[in-house]
Symmetry: C2
Subunit: 130 residues, 2 copies
DNA sequence: CTTGACCTTCACGCAAGGGTCAATCCCTAG
DNA sequence: CTAGGGATTGACCCTTGCGTGAAGGTCAAG
C-alpha cells in the first residue's frame, strides 16, 4: 500500500503521514524508487495515532505509547498493562488540560469582571452573584 | 522618561514596549538621537494595555480600545460609553474564550473516557456516573 | 575608552500539520 | 517507443499570539 491509499483509508493526508514518520510515530518500508510502502495494519495504527491526538495527547505522548499502537486501542486503553506507560501520560495530560481550562476560565472571569455589562450567559462571575 | 524607566515603572520589559509600539498600541516622541521619550502618563497606559492583555484580550482587541487606554480603566470599563467599542470586543472575546474552554473540556472528557482508570478528580465524565 | 542604555532588523519559539516546489517515478494509451 | 498524466519524494516556508533573543550600531557620561 502506498502513502496515498493509506491516507485515504485512514482518513487523513499524505502530508500528515510524512509528518508522523518524521516524528517517529510511524515507520515505512521503501520501494526501490524510494516510495513509502505500508502493510494493511498501518491503517489501524494511523487511526490509533489520530484518535489519541484528537483526544488531546501530544505527539510526544503518543510516542511514549508506541508499543500499543498496533493493537485495538479501546481494549488496550481500558484494561491492559499499558497502565505503566499510559497512566503517567494520561494523568499528566489530563492535568495539563485542566490547568489550561482553569487558566482560560480565570481569563474569562477576569474579563467579565472587568466588563460587568457582559453578564456572562455562561457561568460563575461569583456564581452570578446568586 | 526613557524606555528603560517606563518598562521598570510599568513592570514590563523594553522589548515588550517596542513590540506594543510596533503593534500600534503605544506611541512615543523621539529625542534627536532617536531615543523613545514618554510622558509620565504612559505608565498608566502601559499598565492598562497589560491588564487588558492579561484578561484575555488580543492585541487587536486592545487596538480597538485605544481611545480609552489613558483613562482609569476600571471606571471606564464599568460605566462609560466605551460600550459601543468595548461591548462587541468583550462579547466576542468571551465567546471565543468559552469556545476554547469547551474544546479543551471535550478533549479532557474524551481522554478520560478513553482511559477510564484516570477517574478524573476534576469533573464530568458523565458526571462521574453518579 | 569604556560601560551601559538605547537603536533597528531579523529570527526563533510553540503544535500539528498545510501549501507549494522541482524532480522523480509509475502506468497507460497511441 | 514515447509522451502524458497522476502519484510520490524531500525541502522549504506559512499559519496564531505574544512576545524573546541575538547581532551590530549609536549615544551619553565617567
Amino acid at each position: 500500500m502506498l502513502i496515498g491509499e493509506l491516507a485515504a483509508q485512514a482518513g487523513t493526508t499524505t502530508r500528515a503521514l510524512r509528518y508522523y514518520e518524521e516524528q517517529g510515530l510511524l515507520e515505512s518500508d521503501r520501494t526501490t524508487a524510494g516510495y513509502r510502502l505500508y502493510e494493511p495494519g498501518a491503517v489501524r495504527r494511523v487511526r490509533n495515532i489520530r484518535e489519541l491526538l484528537s483526544c488531546g495527547l501530544t505527539v510526544e505522548d503518543v510516542k511514549s505509547l508506541l508499543a500499543y499502537l498496533d493493537a485495538d486501542l479501546p481494549e488496550v486503553l481500558s484494561y491492559s498493562p499499558l497502565c505503566a506507560d499510559g497512566y503517567g501520560v494520561g494523568v499528566q495530560r489530563v492535568a495539563q488540560l485542566e490547568e489550561r481550562i482553569a487558566i482560560l476560565t480565570e481569563l474569562r472571569d477576569s474579563l467579565v469582571h472587568r466588563m460587568p455589562w457582559l453578564a456572562a450567559p455562561g457561568r460563575t462571575v461569583d456564581e452570578q452573584a446568586a
